[in-house]
Assembly symmetry: C2
Homo-oligomer: 116 residues x 2
Amino acid sequence: MKAKKILGDFELYVMLAVARLGDDAYGGALRREIESRTERSVAIGALYSTLDRLGDKGYLSFRVEGPESGRPGRARKYCRLTPAGAEALRHSSEMLRRMMEGVQVGGEPLLGQANQ
Amino acid sequence: MKAKKILGDFELYVMLAVARLGDDAYGGALRREIESRTERSVAIGALYSTLDRLGDKGYLSFRVEGPESGRPGRARKYCRLTPAGAEALRHSSEMLRRMMEGVQVGGEPLLGQANQ
DNA sequence: AGCACAAACTCTACATTGCAGAGTATACGA
DNA sequence: TCGTATACTCTGCAATGTAGAGTTTGTGCT
């Protein structure tokens, strides 16, 4: 069994948020994105240490950009998916889709009828 | 932010496999199910310690059933979702669906066109 | 009965990932 | 220059995931 590494649950959330936000993906925005879409609270430390780890794995790259407009505060560290990151994200999502596909819980399909 | 706890990645895989296998969900079958659907190898210890932890959280219940047919070996420990487990599974899946919905990676939608 | 074999679970140790919050840096505006 | 807002860093610890050797228990053969 070959066993490509699979993203942890929070790592996956972060990668998805980065993919969705595109050029606006930096700490605070990622946090708000995850908190608003899910009912999950995002600890500040969890977020940044996960970003670092994803960077170490080569899944994310960063560019630091000083306060552009009249915004207060220090520079933002924007991030984006690397090709390896995009691949890892696709792979994790696909494995998950395969596992969820057709599963029923208490007679109800787990995913909406549109999904498989 | 309320923050219901979310299942870890491997926990989610196990719960999904239990839901799918229904009355045939025991260690070996779960392992084969996960390994065959994904390309992820499942360590024996990972599986059983995860099952235990899910039991501790009240998400799974167990029944031990001695070798029924002419099968060799010791008794199997079958497991099934409790109501709390079913709820946790639905919740984790739904949060994931919300995060994945509409996300594009490299111009391609992450999920097939049928999905959202 | 005694033994090899197979299936299945248990146990222990450790690695990775996630959580929490205090701390530091930097910029704006009064 | 001081208070406030934004944003990232750091450190310690908790939870989850990995790995594989070990034990239990039944079958079937001799």
